[in-house]
Symmetry: C2
Subunit: 467 residues, 2 copies
């Protein structure tokens, strides 16, 4: 019997699946956004899909896999874009989508199991007038545990910053990968040990997150003749302290017209668009603000659309963040994208420079966020892909111009550029996963003991050593 | 019969009072914070106190006063500090404290009559988990109309900026001072016409304001050996995007020990203190953050105090903003204060400079706020008053160092420095108060047709002409 056979046998009573096609399908995420990752990871598959329903079942899976030296790669809904949940060394794919109970909702706080869908949490929280602070554009499919383990921010980051920021995650319950898995409740500085670590150093089973006030956000599309007009508008809107927006994302022509097929009739092909979500009671203020911009044309407001019109179209958040890219890929599978930070206070100027430099080879897509207390923007520009060499050149030019890239064409934590590893992180991994069985191949510092993690790069999720 | 007698007679059925002592008492606010205003305004009194209960009654008062050329000065609870509500030309003092119905509370919105007490609005809003975004330290006595007409921001400004910011007031209902008073519902840009105008160009009768999520805020006092340590801590805390605070106010030693008598036992005399209000679910994150500062000592947390201990002490917001000054004046009536803006991004450096320059003559008291999208601080430093000349010198030195003063020792809108007048503002006053009967003497541009309002000074509430 192979190790996998032993594991499968030992786990009877827990839902498993070894049909290769199904396992392969559940071994994938949205890595194919990147032509580089597509080439590298297309063949990747686990050997056995395991779908536990309780923490006790997970504990059993970990024990058995530990004993038999079988790798375990955890996944939520598989909505990541960097192969976060892809089992490079095969083994067990641990699917947490059925560990999905919403356990507790209090004023300002939700406790949920890792596999709970984010929009389902919000449906439950809405009963008390609350919702999650942040969510990815994959809100309707993504799990809360997957977001914490593989995401960084998204819709709502204009108000709350990112997952990395103290206060955006209250507590994470983690099981370690040992003969006798330990249950750890991580809070405070310790949260960074497992956040955005792709499940390399513990299995997140439960999440405690803050909630904020829930509103029936109004989707608004504002059109501009020039992309830089849209950028100036967005930057100013983000800096309006009293006007509550949940999303501000300018996208350069011709992307909005070409990619947003259900909104296409509102958008001229030469129009750049700012995708917004605005609190309903702020719509008067928003209209007042927009009227200050001669160049701004409000193209669509969900609060003025009929219910039929509204439900025929995707919500604004599914035009934003990585959904912009996804809609682009549906129309034109040859494109790809990048992830850029335009640092405050030169964000607008940096965007202008990159826009002028690359033109329609790299059409702009920005997401305004609060970052270290200031309003600035991330970019998820579309790249009209030609070769990997040119892609790397484009990346290099951004970095040379002071615009750091979080490279979505790399599947390791360190090369992705969001997660810094260091001695503290590594020591935690050593204690939580001594055999290195959790999502192998994703943490360079673990795979290569000579890796120098003391480089000068900036990471979204910093190391723990300096603290 | 005098004009006042005619008015009094014509208003029977409406509550009036002409006992000179009572009228004088109701003609005052907290102008005596300023030794300059105390000298100038101590004698001021209206002639007749009128306390309407409905908008119809106000309309009647305005008609009668208009006909008889009697000035009308409106007041809420009289908690302003600049003589905003003091009737320089006598006449009617229009007391709106009984026009206080809370008319409607919806998700994100409250509609209330101008005389509603702000804490009473929050009691009502709390039933739906909501509260006002901003309030002055006089929360438990101040009226919502008085706040809009005479205030600028306060507790909550760290999240929402100030009243001047688009979106912090939705709608103001105003009665004009004419033979037939018109009822205007002002929204959008028009709001600026009557905001922070001391009731000089219309009587605010109803206010529509946004609400935000309500929490049982935790009062925290954090002690530091040096004031600048407290300032650095506060600036960093304000810039933490995920950690929800409602108040961050550093106060230099020995003020906290000397002025906060009910908290004195927690505070060493040489300790500077940061007064904070933190969301209860953020206290773990707050403790984590505070532990990063070796110099920070958490002196008091209301969530760890017994109920008896907690209720024996004033809430944190009554240690902050103008209540710091008030508590100081109770201990030492010879002090006064200033209002300073330390502009971003040099706020910390500017504070350091002023602190070094003035030492204990001007002990620091800052309030961190969001201002045009950035975290910076206002100052309400205590001034150990000697002479008006020295006070003016201190003001001049601040301005020479790039720290604008909003002068709380002036009772006119323009000299106070918060409200800019211009041709649009003046034209509105001409139409809303053609005889100039509303709160006469407060708007220089009206009193003096040769007043040059096109100066280069920065105002919190800008003019309307540029829009």
């Amino acid at each position: 019997m192979t190790a996998i056979d032993i594991v499968k046998h030992a786990l009877k009573g827990i839902q498993t699946e070894d049909n290769p096609q199904i396992v392969k399908q559940k071994s994938r995420d949205f890595f194919w956004y990147s032509p580089v990752l597509k080439r590298q990871l297309d063949h990747v598959s686990g050997d056995l899909l395991v779908t536990p329903k309780t923490e006790a079942e997970i504990r059993q899976v970990l024990q058995v896999c530990f004993e038999n030296n079988v790798p375990v790669t955890t996944r939520g809904a598989g909505t990541g874009n960097y192969g976060q949940a892809m089992p490079l060394s095969g083994g067990v794919v641990l699917n947490l989508s059925e560990l999905n109970r919403i356990k507790e909702i209090q004023t300002g706080v939700v406790v949920a199991e890792a596999g709970a869908i984010m929009s389902a949490i919000d449906v439950a929280a809405k009963r008390s007038g609350q919702e999650l602070r942040l969510h990815p554009s994959t809100y309707r499919t993504a799990t809360i545990g997957g977001f914490v383990a593989g995401g960084s921010g998204g819709v709502g980051s204009i108000n709350w910053g990112g997952l990395r920021d103290l206060g955006n995650v209250n507590r994470l319950r983690v099981l370690t990968m040992e003969a006798e898995p330990r249950q750890l409740d991580l809070v405070g500085e310790d949260l960074q040990k497992v956040m955005h670590a792709y499940g390399t150093n513990g299995i997140i089973t439960e999440v405690e997150m803050p909630l904020t006030a829930s509103y029936d956000w109004v989707d608004v599309l504002v059109g501009f003749d020039g992309f830089m007009d849209a950028v100036h508008f967005s930057d100013a809107l983000g800096n309006l302290d009293g006007l509550l927006a949940k999303e501000i994302g300018p996208i350069a022509a011709p992307l909005p017209h070409d990619y947003f097929l259900r909104h296409q009739k509102f958008i001229r092909r030469d129009q750049s668009v700012v995708v917004c979500m605005i609190a309903p009671f702020a719509m008067d203020a928003f209209a007042t603000f927009a009227a200050r911009y001669k160049s701004a044309e409000v193209l669509y407001r969900s609060d003025l659309a009929s219910e039929g019109e509204r439900t025929a179209r995707p919500p604004a958040y599914e035009l934003s963040w990585n959904h912009t890219t996804l809609r682009g890929l549906r129309v034109d599978p040859t494109i790809t994208y990048l992830q850029v930070l335009y640092p405050f206070p030169t964000q607008v100027e940096s965007v202008r420079k990159m826009t002028e430099l690359f033109g329609d080879e790299v059409p702009g897509h920005l997401e305004f966020v609060r970052f270290d207390g200031k309003i600035t923007c991330f970019g998820l520009p579309i790249v009209r892909f030609t070769t990997e060499e040119r892609l790397n050149e484009i990346i290099q030019i951004h970095e040379d111009n002071g615009c750091p890239i979080f490279n979505p064409h790399r599947y390791t934590l360190e090369e992705g550029g969001m997660k810094q590893t260091d001695a503290v992180q590594l020591a935690f991994k050593k204690s939580a996963d001594p055999k290195g069985l959790l999502n192998p191949g994703k943490m360079i510092a673990w795979e290569n003991p000579h890796y120098d993690y003391c480089n000068s790069k900036n990471f979204l999720f910093p190391g723990l050593q300096a603290l």
